[in-house]
Symmetry: C2
Subunit: 113 residues, 2 copies
């Protein structure tokens, strides 16, 4: 266990749902679902540092993400293995719902030319 | 649509998760999962009226429950059809996780004799 992260058996359903109960945090979870570690600055745009710090804390304390310092930044990743072990099938259902609910990424995109 | 209840297409994922992010509300959802309408006074014991009112509001505004007056009380039921239509598979996964996570009902029960 890393400091400030709940151990697997300390992850509770209410904290998981609390962590998911915000559109910005759902956006982050959707991005992390692709797998791997993501620099925290790459996940939400136009958000103040204090707001980002708040969202990382709620996601971390909910047991949704690992947060790991690397140089000057933090790397975030989804705790898929722990969540799947703790609540089998729940994360897949959540990711399916997030994916189905999100607007298509292409919509509103500006032409690059 | 009933007054103060979101229409099906107004139910959002973040409001659903916010409504689920509390152990008392998870207990209520678990009880309602059996189906049918339940008098609101039968669902949570030892909780003040103002706290109950708060929890019913969050569940109602999240699109999790129908709340219907009947005489002097309110009858609550799960919006299973709407949730299944809006986020297919999610409610079943949530109920499975709640059920797996809850302590066995018999534990700690007093003998009736």
């Amino acid at each position: 266990m890393t400091v400030n992260h709940p151990a697997r058996d300390q992850i509770t359903l209410e904290n998981v749902f609390t962590a998911l109960g915000n559109p910005m945090r759902l956006t982050v979870v959707r991005a992390l679902a692709a797998g791997g570690e993501h620099p925290c600055g790459s996940l939400l745009e136009g958000v103040s540092k204090s707001t980002l710090t708040h969202h990382w804390r709620v996601l971390r304390e909910g047991g949704i993400i690992w947060q790991r310092p690397s140089g000057r930044e933090l790397l975030l990743s989804l705790r898929r293995e722990d969540l799947d072990a703790r609540f089998p099938g729940l994360l897949d259902a959540v990711l399916g719902a997030i994916s189905a609910d999100a607007p298509p990424r292409a919509a509103g995109a500006r032409p690059t030319g």
